[in-house]
């Protein structure tokens, strides 16, 4: 086997500035897209649950399209496709201290839109999983829909879907490599660039794979920390549906 260990160790332990910049882009794009996608997903989940057709139908269509087409196609479509059709062109934004290039914006938009569709379904399932009796109790106390969502249902939804969100971000970290197709110099594209100059494919892809493994491992620890912090003991894991299974009525009025 032809494996250049010193090359491998060098790129693994002494990454170049370009490589570190790629790492930074991967992390930033993933975090921003996950946050935007979650916000979008929350809105889409509510729209999807709404009785009004003008909310419900667009939400359904959005989720259907984004979950039904490849992410890679969506990325190219939004950046290159829109520009080619002269629908919309992502221009660089100069913030003074830094420039956010058009392809980074398009990458984030595509990843967020895609993530939003999945998050919408996750959040919707999480909302529906909260016992409806609590919603009725909140209503009976005079709470409006939004108030009871905010105070009663969503806090429980969040706890329930936290492991799933963690899983989604793990996927997001790896899916962010797809924006390399539109020229965003994140980890994978940087690796490819170095590869085209050195042809040390096996060593370089080992390095990039290990970097992703490191990112997802760190995230695994962070996720565990968040989950333990948001008090799992408060979750009603021990609540049993008493009236239905475990007890009978002592002086039942019927039968």
């Amino acid at each position: 086997m032809n494996f250049d260990w010193s090359f491998f160790w060098h790129y693994l332990l002494l990454p170049s500035g370009v490589f570190l910049h790629g790492l930074m882009l991967t992390v930033v794009i993933s975090i921003v897209s996950q946050i935007l996608g979650s916000v979008l997903g929350l809105a889409a989940a509510f729209a999807r649950r709404a009785r009004a057709k003008w909310l419900n139908l667009p939400a359904r269509a959005y989720i259907w399209v984004m979950r039904g087409t490849p992410l890679l196609v969506q990325i190219v479509f939004i950046y290159t496709g829109f520009a080619a059709a002269q629908i919309f062109r992502f221009n660089d934004i100069n913030l003074g201290f830094m420039v956010i290039s058009g392809n980074v914006q398009a990458g984030i938009v595509a990843l967020s839109l895609n993530e939003g569709a999945y998050m919408a379904e996750i959040i919707r399932a999480g909302i529906d999983a909260v016992d409806f009796g609590q919603t009725e109790a909140a209503k009976s106390l005079g709470m409006t829909h939004w108030m009871l969502m905010r105070r009663v249902v969503l806090p429980q939804t969040l706890r329930m879907i936290l492991p799933t969100i963690g899983n989604q971000f793990n996927i997001m970290l790896k899916n962010s490599t797809l924006v390399s197709i539109i020229g965003v110099p994140e980890l994978l594209l940087v690796t490819e660039t170095i590869n085209s100059a050195t042809f040390r494919t096996f060593e370089l892809y080992s390095v990039v794979a290990l970097y992703f493994l490191m990112l997802t491992t760190i995230w695994g620890f962070v996720q565990h920390w968040i989950e333990t912090r948001i008090a799992p003991a408060r979750m009603p894991a021990t609540v049993r549906p008493k009236g239905e299974i475990l007890s009978f009525h002592p002086v039942a009025g019927e039968q």
């Binding site: 016992d131 009976s140 106390l141 005079g142 009603p236 007890s247 009025g253 019927e254």
Partner: protein, 269 residues
Amino acid sequence: MSEAILSAIGGVPQADSDEVIVASNVEKWFGNTKILDDVSLTVRQGQAIAIIGPSGSGKTTFLRCINHLESIQRGRITVNGYLIGYRERNGALIEDKERNIARQRQDIGMVFQRFNLFQNMSALRNIAAAPIHVRGMAQAEAFEIARALLARVGLADKQDAYPAQLSGGQQQRVAIARALAMRPKVMLFDEPTSALDPEMVGEVLAVIRELAAEGMTMLIVTHEMAFARQVADHIVVMDQGRIIEQGAPSVVFESPTHDRTKLLLRAIL
């Protein structure tokens, strides 16, 4: 219970009109099935009325119509003098705005068969949440009332416990305290002991009995005949969506006139 429960909320809440609940000719359909058929009932200030009847007789549905958790198709229900769930326009009833319905529900306490405590809140927060967020009460005041209520239902030491850490009987007592914290003009009890283990029924009934003794206006759907007889000053018997008989407990229990009532009571007593 050494101290009166209602003293924790400043005494017996008084409704604006003597007739706290007036239901007239209420009709309710689920699809093609008539659930409530021409139900009329008046609950006056200070009355404790028990509704009994076989399963499927519509008693729980009727109770849920009173705070508009269920819609009605005919008739009208007023609480505290105001039409609930609907507005009248040109003689027709149209569904009211959510905000208005929510405002009226503030005055109607409800206790559910399955407790329905908020699982993400401690016992204390369960009780204080609505006074704070709905009534806009200061946190300190709301927690003080919540603590007093918890003490009166015998759970002073459970204020930080989450519902999952409480027994069914304890949860139901917290649920009663939660409803009372809003100073409701009337309390609706929907089979409050049906989901409890036998040994916990007594502690919940004791609280409800105490409330009745203190003069709280109440409408109780129950299967506990002995309890109904003891606590209520008026018994309503429902069957197949209709009120078939009503009157003083002694009359209904000792000399029922309707055959269905006789059958129902024979099955139990």
